[in-house]
């Protein structure tokens, strides 16, 4: 076991650290976090528009008229459907912050660049005509999840250029006596001019190819392959395994894995959301969204420790484990389990690491197949905060379908049964330790 520990500490840990600490990945994750509260609010309205009660729609139409549904969805249009704008702004802001250069300027330049590489025209077919015209406007289809990778890439490129200009002091200098706020406003001029010119060249260059615009290139070369990879069963199992492995070394596994995967999961989630919005009974394409992991696989937090916490609270004979159970029971309901991970401890504990890593792999498999065969509804894209207790969270995330809750209960029972023997082993060991301690005291 020492060899394994050594390998984990010396070889795997630094890699985990490097991924989780990588400036760009970190900025992407923190930048996307800007949109998250808004997506939750958008979800609320999405839920109101598609409340799963028979006769609800007819009832609402009776009161508010035919248009009620598209009106209640207005907030969805300015949250989900423009998430790439938030990404473009937020990622550049966070990255600039890490380089200690003015984040607001970097964010503004990034957004401007993102719009510059996007064709600002919308296809429009007038009623009773077959011909389609291109009219001016910001194409909303590229502002949502479809434009996400373009927003990410452009934000990183533009901010990297921006900070190099600032750090090398290639800026317009103001004579002494000019207030700092004024000279600050001029500081962005040279880098912004350079960046936007570069984006213009990029835009025009791509217009001359068969791709027509950068969105088509990125979709084909990045978004589609990555979503296939991340959405596959293999991708799911690897993600779940790595989260468990890192946490069992005491490293925030989700922070590491989501740093790489969150854009992909977000795109997959949003594809489901758009289909769900059009028809709340449609069969959705994607299983692997962030919600799949947070709400169905990791019940009670990484390692699916809700069951383990309940065993500690109600079945532990060891005083220490019992008090740990009581201490962390409340937070476990809301899927926070650091006390369990560090207190049991699960970290670097061969007896508990095994179930901690592999039980979520099993719950991922059961959930995947249940969703695949249609026994359980797939996550509909409604953003449920990960701190929501199970049963409620499954019901909401499945789009108001009880099968989502049932799946959580099934997974809970599975994890309870599989944790039990390991729990007994550890409890026994702890009891023996406590007995020895008591003897020594007396």
């Amino acid at each position: 076991m020492n060899k394994v520990n050594y390998f984990l500490e010396e070889k795997v840990m630094p890699v985990a650290g490097r991924i989780a600490n990588q400036k760009h990945l970190q900025s992407v994750r923190d930048g996307l976090a800007l949109a998250m509260p808004l997506l939750i609010i958008g979800s609320l309205f999405l839920l109101i528009s598609a409340f799963p009660i028979p006769g609800y729609r007819e009832f609402m139409t009776g009161i508010f008229g035919d248009m009620w549904r598209s009106k209640i969805l207005y907030p969805v249009n300015v949250t989900f459907d423009v998430m790439s704008i938030f990404a473009s702004f937020g990622i550049a802001y966070r990255l600039a912050e890490k380089y200690s250069v003015d984040p607001l300027s970097a964010a503004a330049i990034s957004l401007s660049s993102f719009l510059l590489v996007t064709p600002l025209v919308i296809p429009f077919t007038p009623t009773e005509m077959t011909e389609t015209f291109m009219v001016n406007g910001i194409p909303i289809k590229y502002m949502g999840s479809q434009g996400l990778f373009v927003a990410i890439i452009i934000a990183i490129i533009s901010t990297e250029i921006y900070r190099r200009f600032i750090q090398k002091d290639i800026v317009i200098k103001m004579p002494q006596g000019v207030p700092p706020a004024v000279s600050m406003s001029f500081a962005a001029l040279i880098p912004a001019g350079f960046i936007l010119s570069l984006m213009l060249v990029l835009r025009i260059g791509i217009e001359h190819t068969s791709f027509e615009n950068i969105h088509n290139i990125i979709t084909k070369l990045i978004t589609v392959p990555l979503s296939l990879l991340g959405g596959s069963l293999g991708g799911i199992i690897i993600s779940v395994f790595i989260v468990g492995l890192f946490w069992s070394m005491g490293i925030h596994g989700w922070a590491v894995v989501s740093a790489v995967m969150s854009p992909i999961w977000l795109i997959l989630r949003d594809q489901n959301r758009m289909i769900f919005m059009a028809d709340s009974n449609a069969i959705l394409p994607n299983i692997a969204t962030d919600q799949f992991f947070l709400l169905w696989v990791f019940l009670g937090g990484a390692g699916a420790t809700l069951a383990f916490t309940i065993l500690l609270t109600f079945r532990a004979k060891s005083k220490q484990l019992k008090s740990l159970g009581k201490l962390s029971f409340g937070s476990a309901i809301f899927n926070i389990n650091e006390p369990i991970i560090f207190g049991s401890p699960i970290v670097m504990n061969p007896i508990l690491m095994l179930p901690f890593i592999f039980i979520p792999v099993i719950t991922a498999l059961t959930t995947y197949f249940a969703m695949h065969i249609g026994f359980v509804e797939k996550p509909c894209g409604i953003a449920v905060p990960w701190t929501t207790p199970i049963i409620i969270s499954g019901y909401l995330a499945a789009g108001g379908k009880i099968s989502g809750s049932i799946m959580q209960i099934i997974n809970f029972i599975i994890s309870l049964a599989l944790y039990y023997p390991f729990f007994r082993m550890w409890d026994k060991k702890k009891c023996e330790e406590e007995d020895i301690m008591e003897e020594m005291v007396s």
Binding site: M13, A16, G17, R18, A20, N21, D30, A33, R94, E97, W247, G250, I251, H252, W254, A255, L324, L327, S328, S331, I336, N337, E338, P339, I340, I341, F342, G343, S344, P345, V347, T387
Partner: protein, 103 residues
């Protein structure tokens, strides 16, 4: 004394904050104790006297220490054992020791 804690989302450290506040009250200590997500540390560190980092994000420790140096405050990882048992008392004592060693 202002004690800032940080972890990935500021959730589990906020549990510890609760325990520490209770302990501080019993000790008759005048302290502001709060927890933030790691993405907000840059803002909150300005008003902190000491920054304590959750063990699960210890890969951020080096970076946060550098940040702490810039503001002249000590930055350390919370012991995993105290973190697991949510031992407010020990963590407060730890924070006090850190502060003292710096002055």
């Amino acid at each position: 004394m202002n004690i800032l804690l940080c972890c990935s989302a500021g959730m589990s450290t906020s549990l510890l904050v609760q325990k520490m506040k209770k302990e501080a009250k019993e000790m008759g200590m005048d302290a502001k104790i709060w927890a933030v997500a790691m993405s907000s540390v840059q803002q909150d560190i300005k008003s902190a006297d000491v920054l304590l980092v959750g063990p699960q994000i210890r890969f951020k420790l080096a970076e946060l220490k550098k940040l702490g140096e810039a503001y002249g405050i000590p930055v350390e990882m919370i012991s995993p054992t105290d973190y697991g048992m949510m031992n407010g008392k020990k963590v407060i004592e730890f924070a006090l020791r850190l502060k003292k060693s710096r002055c």
